[in-house]
């Protein structure tokens, strides 16, 4: 029995002769051992325990984390302090391992970004001028830029001239390879602008208000005079979306396969393009919108309205997530910053009042920055590196580094792109390239804006050199990984967190539950073992990192106390009557009844508290 207990532990390693000599007198006894050798057919025998990894085996010192050339592992990665508090040993070690893996992955990613993805020379690849000599970047003309860049880049600057077709709207596919243009008088064309290959060109002979590519260059949606139509790559009409009446703006959410449109009536409509089912239509109650944009990181739709408000929508709520008064006039341009520093946090709006404002999505209370522009702004666009283009009458202005530096002052433009006697109706930066496409009354112009595009693309997300087979693969994978519309939330980190509140319960119901019937978190809280966020703050204070006042400042999460008896029929009746200000007998009677009830309740409470003594005896009933 004791032998069994001993064998549960690790077997001790065999002692070796110290000087390496074999003592000839020692012979192994062939007594019973727990590990038996297995004789094989070819006459040899193997001891299975010898073939496992020895307990004394070590990783060579060169492979130790601290000795790696990267230096990133010079200090060993430690798990979060809060994990140490977990009682369960197995869970603790599992979570600690996970935490270390995450941190290691983060470091690795940083290394990759630093070593592989960084621009070879210079900081961000923009125009550099000699500031001391009074040179300004915004004085640099397009012709000067195209003279100094390579032949390949020079070819990217082009103009397509269409006279008398109305103003043009433009849209790029996600990889920036294909371009769709639509004039307000019915001319639609899609083409691969790099190869110069035209996919389709159609004349619809009715007014067009917007054009958007769907998940790939194969399909595009056009907001026409009455309805939204979907065309394929060859310009063949595939669908007429009859539910989208009188559309003015469209957005396509590529990961959710949702086409969001809004029309003159002010209804925001979500249409699932993979199944063809209308998901929801939400009345904005704010009339015909003047602008629309999507946040590419949270799939929230931004609408700009005529009364100067901007509203944020998702298909899951009938009311806007956020509604803010952005301008003193109609909001006619919205753009969301997709760049690395912002990741969907910063939003730019422009209004008819001639002001451009930058908002921070973490705090909508006040704009981060605002400035006046002289020309009448009509449209905004953000580039992959965070440059903002402001398009308006007679030209486009491009700004950069808007979130840093002195944010009180009017920012200096990075580039000015004049369009004499024209108004920019649509500006779009080409993804993964240094180009800005401007749609105006005389066609479109593709202009060079050095340093605006994200240079390092990811082939698995948006492949610039996508082959036919890879596109096919992406189509199928995209559909398989289609995100459900319920997961569109303002807080993108929402998924995977614990929902604490258990709705629809009154205070009494919650209190009457036995200890056993409580949820796990409630039980832990009762035992004082819950892992509350306050504890975490205290820990941070101990480390000397957290600010002193932060602990008190964080508000406790309010538990909603739904009380029985509030908003009952009697009080509702009284409220209604009093609103009308009509005093009649029934109201007086009701008032008296309520007053008596209140008084009785009051005395009962006082007796219970011991403030007054309960009257007893025969006359007590008249008290």
């Amino acid at each position: 029995m004791d032998a069994l207990l001993a064998s549960a532990g690790p077997l001790p390693t065999k002692k070796q002769n110290y000087k390496g000599k074999q003592s000839s007198t020692y012979t192994k006894k062939s007594g019973p051992t727990s590990h038996q050798t297995i004789p094989r057919a070819d006459g040899t025998s193997i001891d299975p325990s010898l073939h496992s990894i020895l307990s004394s085996t070590r990783i060579p010192a060169g492979f130790h984390q601290s000795n790696l050339a990267s230096g990133s592992g010079s200090t060993p990665i430690k798990p979060d302090v809060s994990i140490g508090r977990i009682q369960d040993k197995k869970l603790r070690s599992k979570l600690a391992r996970q935490d270390i893996t995450h941190k290691q992955a983060k470091l690795d990613r940083q290394d990759v970004n630093e070593w592989l993805n960084k621009a070879i020379s210079g900081d961000k690849g923009g125009i550099e001028v000699d500031e001391e000599l009074g040179e300004k970047t915004w004085r640099v003309k397009q012709s000067e830029i195209s003279d100094s860049v390579s032949v390949g880049s020079k070819g990217k600057k082009f103009d397509l001239k269409f006279e008398g077709m109305g103003s043009y709207k433009v849209d790029y596919t996600r990889n920036g390879r294909h371009l769709a243009i639509a004039s307000s008088k019915g001319h639609v064309a899609t083409f691969d602008w790099q190869a110069g290959k035209l996919h389709s060109e159609i004349q619809l002979k009715e007014s067009i208000r917007d054009i958007k590519f769907l998940h790939s260059q194969d399909f595009y949606a056009v907001a026409q005079k009455k309805y939204v139509f979907i065309y394929d790559q060859n310009g063949v009409e595939l669908h007429k979306l009859k539910q989208h009446i009188d559309p003015t703006h469209m957005e396509f959410l590529p990961y959710h396969y949702l086409l969001a449109t809004v029309g003159h009536a002010g209804y925001l409509k979500y249409h699932d393009t993979s199944t063809g089912v209308m998901l929801t239509q939400i009345p904005s109650h704010l009339g015909s919108p003047h602008s629309m944009a999507q946040n590419p990181h949270s799939a929230i739709i931004h609408l700009g309205h005529a009364n100067g408000t901007m509203t944020l929508w998702s298909p899951n709520m009938t009311t806007p997530h956020v509604k803010l008064l952005a301008h003193r006039g109609p909001v006619n341009g919205i753009a969301v910053d997709p760049s690395e520093t912002s990741a969907g946090r910063y939003v730019a709006t422009s209004g008819m009042d001639g002001v451009v404002k930058i908002w921070d999505g973490r705090m909508w209370g006040k704009e981060v920055r605002s400035w006046h522009v002289r020309n009448q702004v009509t449209t905004l666009g953000y580039s992959g590196m965070g440059m903002l283009s402001v398009g308006g009458k007679s030209g486009v202005t491009v700004y950069r580094d808007l979130h840093s530096g002195n944010i009180q002052h009017t920012p200096t433009p990075y580039l000015t792109l004049p369009l004499p006697s024209l108004t920019a109706s649509s500006v779009k930066f080409c993804p993964f390239d240094d180009l800005l496409c401007v749609g105006h009354e005389k066609g479109i112009s593709s202009l060079l804006v050095p340093g605006s595009g994200e240079p390092n693309f990811d082939s698995n997300e948006a492949d610039l050199y996508e082959t036919y087979s890879r596109k096919r693969e992406r189509d199928v994978r995209g559909l398989l990984e289609k995100i459900r519309p319920e997961l569109i939330t303002l807080d993108t980190d929402f998924l995977g967190h614990i929902n604490e509140s258990r709705g629809g319960e009154t205070f009494e119901e919650r209190n009457s539950r036995s200890y056993r019937q409580l949820g796990r978190l409630e039980r832990l809280r009762m035992d004082g073992k819950a892992d509350e966020p306050q504890n975490q703050l205290e820990d941070e204070d101990e480390e000397g990192e957290g600010e002193g006042g932060e602990g008190e400042a964080t508000q406790k999460e309010k538990v909603k106390r739904k009380m029985k008896g509030k908003g009952g029929s009697t009080s509702r009746y009284l409220r209604k009557k009093q609103k009308k200000n009509i005093v009649d007998n029934s109201l007086l009677a009701m008032k008296a009844k309520v007053a008596a009830q209140k008084k009785a309740e009051d005395t009962r409470r006082k007796i219970a508290n011991g403030e007054i003594v309960k009257e007893t005896g025969a006359l007590a009933r008249f008290a």
Binding site: K90, P338, E340, D458, I483
Partner: protein, 511 residues
Amino acid sequence: MISRSLDDHMPSSSTSPHPLQRNLAPHLHPFQKPREYARALTAVKMDRMFAKPFVDALGGHQDGVYCLGKDSRRVGVVAGGGGDGEVIVHSLTLRRPLLKIPHAHKGMVGGICWTSESHDGQRGMITAGKLDGTIKIWRSEAFAPGIRDKELFQGSEFASGFGSAGHQQHLDQAGAIGENGLDMDVDFDEEEEGGGLNLDFAKRDKLGENLEPKMVYTNKNGLNGIDHHRTDSVFATASNTVQIWDENRSAALSNLQFGSSLETVNQVKFNQSETNVLASVGNDRTMCLYDIRTGKAERRIVMQFVSNDISWCPTLPTTMLLASEDHNLYTFDIRNLNSPSQIYKGHVGGVMGCDWSPTGEEFVSGSYDRTVRLWNRESGKSRDVYHTKRMQRVFDVTYTPTADFVLSASDDGNVRIWKSNASKKLGVVSSKERQAIEHRQKLVERYSAEKGVRSIKDRRHVPQSIHNATKLKRDMIESRKVKEDRRREHSRKGREKPKAERKKAVIVEQK
């Protein structure tokens, strides 16, 4: 200005793969979590879609099958003991009986085990009668068809008894963990093509009828269980005491019992690592540990309910598993017998049999409620539940030595083969496919706490009767617990302390 060269982004030749450029910066990968979640949801759905655990039913028994004998040295063979005393040796690869012994015992077969070493070139199978109290050792070449070569098989009589003994011995030892299984398949397939199938069946039946046991032991009392020592030629039986027998002697080596207590012992099992230690479960709700070197009972615990079966973990020498009549299974670390180290709840009938997987990470249990459940050692909830319309009460279960399959013996006279992992693909898996499978598993594991994934992952369709019984049982336990809570609330403080579930299982530990 960005300028890209086509040389970097286009394949160098028509056959080379398309070059990929990666940028792991998070702003280029929006909706990371929701997309991963969508992938996890697809993965868990695929897992359930491909869950087809039932492989085959091995018939041939006239009565129900009440015990299984797994030969831990060979993969493809299992013996089933019937209620009418018939013993059938099944081949799992051929899915048909290798040998039928119609009247092995009078009345029910209590237990079957296999000898540890080959003897005269023949595998030995030991069977014990539940009613007639006899133990019989059977030896035949037919138990090990893989170890005969082709000409021998075709030339000699099936029941020849002794072929070339030296050759046989050599093969028998090498045959540990099914090395010649493939040859066997080929042999039989060719034979089937020749149309000798009927002849084969007739020969087999005749062989079974004429087969005589090499050794017969008699005991006064019926035998409920039997287990063989891992290496030595010693085996133990369970009757009203635990008896140790030698294969070469006619009388019992020793009788083991705890003190002077007399009880019916239900099952006895040898430890796999410390091979001289054995454990038994008895009708007095006891579990007792013995050492055959000292010939004494070492320790005993008395539990709340009687246990039907016992199994030692093959990788953790101190861990044992008890299948209890109270619908639960318990694992004990024998260093601490005060309380079980884990309680496994899920069955709604008494658990009749249990067996560890060879890895020691998982085990299987069969119950009187007509289901087979699979468990992880570390979690108290079952990983999976298997049932079919035709499977009746399960009396014994076992893992195959490769851990790929699970066998169940039930009342309806069939031995059923199940996959131990319901959705696992049988056969060769390419490395690419394996990577995808592992990726999916990891995703499911990561999001298994989320409701949408969890509900699909944990959802099992069970027969209406079991569903209802589970619900009823849950309600009963719940209300009992709530009542206890309320009673505690209204009694003096500290008088009625709640007792942990694990502490309730063991009543007393005796030394």
